[in-house]
């Protein structure tokens, strides 16, 4: 049976100290094949939610199904296979600073595609880098020789290296200027369009980006989903906090 939803979460609760809950009974369904943006004020649990989807943190209670698998009960081997089906672009790209651009993108393939030849891996990595907009002259550079935008491109190429089913973007435009922000947004859109059937989940503060690239938008508040739906659902919402968030976000820009 084909999956309709990429991620299904029910009654997810997470507390780090046993008292305060960062996620407090969160239930959410993320559709497959779309770009979902997750928005919300700072401290509402967006990044914690992302880490739960990745299986980096275990919930205090509730369950999380990603690509039809329960993340909370996976064995070690299952977790490794599962993570190969996910690609992540981190806020600051998180490139390995002792590896060149090309080595960074080759790395996941060297680790998980051990039967592939090194020249084959190099070719695929070069292709991914070019698709992300990196020129060949930068391939042998170290990450600290790259600009912020170039790092994001390399980070994205690395996230795509194993052809993941879900690509997660953790605040991809935070700290970037408006031109770079637009470039990253376009990169997310073009990547999604070129990969038919893949799912993208973008956690962002940037309201413009959230509404421009997201076909399904989720707003979190106090560890719960406040509102989810398409753009119109948000613009027509009468929830005061949503109106305030939209007003502040668009006014500031």
């Amino acid at each position: 049976m084909e999956l309709i939803n990429a991620v299904e979460i029910k009654d997810l609760k997470k507390s780090f100290d046993g008292k305060d809950y960062v996620l407090n009974g969160l239930s959410l369904t993320i559709p497959k094949g779309q770009i979902t943006t997750i928005i919300g004020f700072s401290g509402t649990g967006k990044s914690v939610l992302l880490k739960h989807i990745l299986g980096l943190i275990h919930p205090s209670s509730g369950w999380i199904h990603v690509l039809g698998k329960d993340v909370t009960t996976m064995s070690y081997d299952e977790t490794i296979d599962f993570r190969c089906r996910l690609g992540v672009l981190f806020q600051h790209a998180a490139l390995f600073d002792d590896m060149t651009v090309l080595e960074n993108v080759c790395f996941p393939m060297v680790e998980h595609r051990r039967n592939w030849g090194i020249s084959e891996i190099h070719n695929i990595a070069a292709k991914k880098l070019k698709e992300s907009g990196m020129e060949e002259k930068h391939f042998q550079k170290l990450p600290n020789e790259l600009s912020g935008g170039q790092r994001k491109r390399v980070g994205l190429a690395r996230a795509l290296a194993l052809d993941p089913d879900i690509i997660l973007y953790d605040e991809p435009t935070t700290g970037l200027d408006p031109i770079l922000t637009e470039m990253v947004d376009n990169l997310i859109l073009s990547t999604h369009e070129s990969r038919q059937g893949s799912t993208s989940i973008v956690v962002t503060h940037d309201l413009h980006a959230a509404f421009r690239i997201g076909s399904f938008i989720v707003m979190l508040d106090k560890g719960k989903v406040l509102l989810q739906g398409d753009k119109n659902t948000f613009f027509n919402s009468e929830i005061p906090l949503v109106q305030k968030f939209l007003a502040k976000g668009f006014k500031r820009d």
Partner: protein
């Protein structure tokens, strides 16, 4: 009367606080020690799990071992000479300069060799390990490894632990050799002690067991500093300040612990020889 009561309460509170802080320190010490031990065993068992990280192991051997040789040679040579000179001054007073060589040899191989090697390498390589892992943690590189389905402890920690445990006895051997060479140069070439007596007495008093004792100690010190520094770096929080704190505490804790453990190991090894009837 009232002021005396207030003062007495303050004094009582201060005494309570003093003992409470000692108690908290003890609790914290054992909690941290327990965490480091668990972290070490978690990581060390991954040395034997596929895929083997041979390339990483060689890289860290080169960093911990090869790149420390120069500093070990320098400190070893001068330590041997300084120690020989001080012992010569003392022994000369009682006309026992024949025993300068073996005294230096025993001191170097059993105590100073492993301890100084441990201190120097933990400051150089241990500090670098903690800083490197701390930076990887705060810049999300460790998270990136994890989400790629790569066990960060297997990839980052296990090869460092193994490299430190193997490199340290080798470096200690270099230290011993260079320190004894320094001692020979000073005693025979500068202080004009008899060369034949110098070597003969060393052969007479120094047992291969003494050298082995030092090498075993060095391996343990390698384990200690690698476990502490990787633990501190791996669990860094709080950005650049966190990296600084992790490096600082990693190096300081390793150095103190090396000196403390050396004392206990000396006694344990002595007790073992006694029980086994080895003289």
């Amino acid at each position: 009367m009232k002021s005396w009561l207030v003062l007495r309460t303050k004094i009582n509170d201060s005494i309570d606080d003093f003992f409470l802080s000692i108690w908290n320190f003890i609790i914290l010490f054992f909690t941290e020690a327990g965490r480091i031990v668990i972290f070490f065993f978690d990581s060390a068992q991954l040395i034997f799990v596929k895929p083997y990280r041979f390339e990483e192991f060689i890289k860290h051997m080169e960093f911990i071992g090869n790149k420390s040789i120069m500093i070990i040679v320098l400190t070893g040579g001068f330590t041997g000479m300084a120690m020989s000179y001080q012992i010569y001054l003392g022994f000369n007073l009682v006309n026992a300069t024949n025993l300068v060589g073996p005294t230096v040899a025993l001191g170097i191989t059993r105590e100073l060799g492993p301890v100084l090697t441990g201190l120097i390498v933990s400051a150089r390589a241990g500090g670098a390990m903690a800083a490197r892992l701390g930076t990887m943690r705060v810049s999300e590189q460790i998270d990136a490894l994890e989400v790629m389905g790569i066990d960060p402890k297997q990839f980052l920690i296990a090869p460092r632990l193994l490299a430190a445990i193997i490199s340290m006895p080798l470096l200690c051997g270099v230290f011993d050799f260079v320190a004894m060479s320094g001692s020979y140069l000073l005693c025979v070439k500068v202080l004009n002690l008899d060369e034949a007596i110098f070597w003969d007495k060393i052969q007479l008093w120094l047992n291969p067991r003494d050298i082995n004792e030092g090498l075993v100690k060095a391996a343990v010190f390698g384990l200690v500093f690698a476990a502490i520094c990787t633990y501190r770096g791996f669990n860094t929080t709080g950005g650049a300040k966190g990296v600084g704190d992790a490096t600082n505490s990693g190096v300081v804790n390793s150095m103190v612990l090396i000196i403390v453990i050396n004392f206990f190991m000396t006694n344990i090894i002595g007790f073992y020889y006694k029980v086994m009837g080895i003289k």
